[in-house]
């Protein structure tokens, strides 16, 4: 699995809102912190294992199965593409 953002989507920090947003044509999605930190690593190069090990440098108790589940959920909402 090598997740990447949908074409023409970009992740932006919005200082006025204090929130991470996924910007897409015609749509803005407000992300929670967990989703944002995972999506920030979905660059189409890192595989699942690489994403998990990056997350481990910042957070404690990261589980690969949980990250995968989160990614599948986000893919279901079309906020990330898995491949």
């Amino acid at each position: 699995m090598t997740p990447h953002l949908p074409p023409h989507a970009s992740l932006r920090w919005n200082p006025a809102r204090g929130e991470w947003l996924l910007m897409m044509p015609e749509e803005v999605v407000v992300l929670n912190e967990t989703a944002a930190s995972v999506l920030a690593l979905c660059d189409g190069r890192r595989g699942l294992a690489a994403i998990v090990s990056e997350l481990e440098t910042e957070y404690e108790g990261v589980e690969e199965a949980q990250v995968e589940e989160l990614l599948r959920g986000l893919a279901g909402q079309r906020l990330v593409e898995l491949r």
């Binding site: 074409p7 200082p15 006025a16 910007m23 044509p25 803005v28 407000v30």
Partner: protein, 355 residues
């Protein structure tokens, strides 16, 4: 209820436009050029919007390219981290012009699948300029949405419209049935499709969506009058979006100034933040407390929020009733009468918008 910060702003930079679409939702009383906000006026609107939490600005109109200061205006958006979407007829969008703009996405309107049909609805000949505009957008590597407003005279061409969007290199295709405000309301009897036309178009869209999956994202806006299911107007009044008109009026939805008793606020006289959070107009239909029956006890109330307030007003004279597009509305017969007339005959020639 805590009031959320807005996410999107529609900036109607000017009402001036080289086209004269009979379906245009702009008001029949268009704002004159002399009443438009200045460059500095718009720049401060963008700054205030960004400070309020707005993330995405739709630069629209009229035709936004008619503003010579569009490069400065788009740059002001980018400086403040706003994602900018240029909504354009494409007329005047040369490679040189686009290179000077700070935009993240372009939405290009197309009137029909062939030059004759397009000329008939817009009373102008702009076919080649639109093809050229699509080309320069793709050459710059920007995402392109092609937008088509559907009505009686082009709804049978959906298949060819999809092919045209493919030829243009669209990333998204929006096929949106006409919403009846402004010039479109005036021309409603000429624009309304028949039930059979809508059914046929629905089927073509379903097949096209399956065929395009993974290549072009197809967004289809069904005709609420025909389906009997109202649209969730603006995703909620004063919840996610605001509109600023060419003269600086600030509206909960692009056409809300048609409500005669709404106190319309203006950025020249009141800060955007105060307008969003405190004004009577933005609070009028926030949340669901304003709802009456049948909406109040309906399981769909959080899905469609009782439909469009402006359409409720246009049909009944009361903006607080259930949208008459709704199959459960006691005013639904008013809609049936309009649809019935469209089944029997097509209304007289359209009044094309001016300016």
């Amino acid at each position: 209820m805590t009031i959320p910060a807005p996410l999107g702003m529609l900036a109607e930079l000017t009402h001036s436009c080289p086209l004269h679409c009979a379906y245009c939702s702009n008001p029949v009383e268009l704002v004159a050029g002399t009443d438009e906000l200045s460059t500095a006026g718009w720049v401060s609107v963008f700054a205030a919007a960004a400070a309020l939490g707005v993330a995405q600005v739709h630069l629209s109109g009229g035709e936004p390219l008619r503003r010579r200061d569009l490069p400065e205006l788009s740059a002001a958006c980018r400086e403040r981290g706003l994602y900018t979407n240029l909504i354009t007829s494409g007329v005047g969008l040369t490679g040189e012009r686009l290179a000077a703009l700070a935009v993240d996405h372009v939405q290009l309107s197309v009137q029909d699948a062939d030059p004759e049909g397009a000329a008939r609805i817009s009373a102008t000949r702009t076919w080649r300029q639109k093809l050229a505009a699509a080309r320069v957008v793709k050459e710059r590597g920007l995402p392109l949405t092609v937008n088509v407003v559907l009505h009686r005279h082009n709804v049978d061409h959906v298949e060819s419209l999809v092919a045209l969007a493919e030829r243009m290199g669209a990333d998204r295709l929006e096929l949106a049935h006409t919403q009846y405000y402004g010039w479109a309301l005036r021309n409603r009897d000429w624009l309304l499709a028949t039930a059979a036309q809508v059914r046929a178009a629905d089927a073509v869209v379903r097949a096209a969506a399956a065929r395009l999956a993974g290549r072009i994202e197809l967004a289809y806006v069904s005709p609420d009058l025909h389906t009997g299911w109202p649209k969730p107007c603006m995703d909620g009044w004063g919840r996610r979006q605001l509109t600023v008109t060419p003269s600086g009026n600030v509206l909960p939805c692009p056409v809300a100034d048609l409500l005669p008793d709404l106190t319309v606020e203006n950025v020249r006289y009141r800060p955007l933040r105060a307008i969003w959070y405190e004004s009577e107009s933005f609070n009028r239909f926030r949340g669901t407390d304003w709802m009456r029956e049948p909406c109040r006890s309906c399981p769909r109330r959080d899905v469609d929020l009782g439909g469009c307030r402006c359409q409720a007003y246009q049909f009944t004279g009361d903006a607080a009733v259930t949208d008459p597009a709704c199959r459960y509305s006691p005013h639904r017969p008013l809609v049936e009468a309009v649809l019935g007339a469209a089944e029997r005959s097509v209304g007289g020639p359209p009044g094309h918008r001016r300016r």
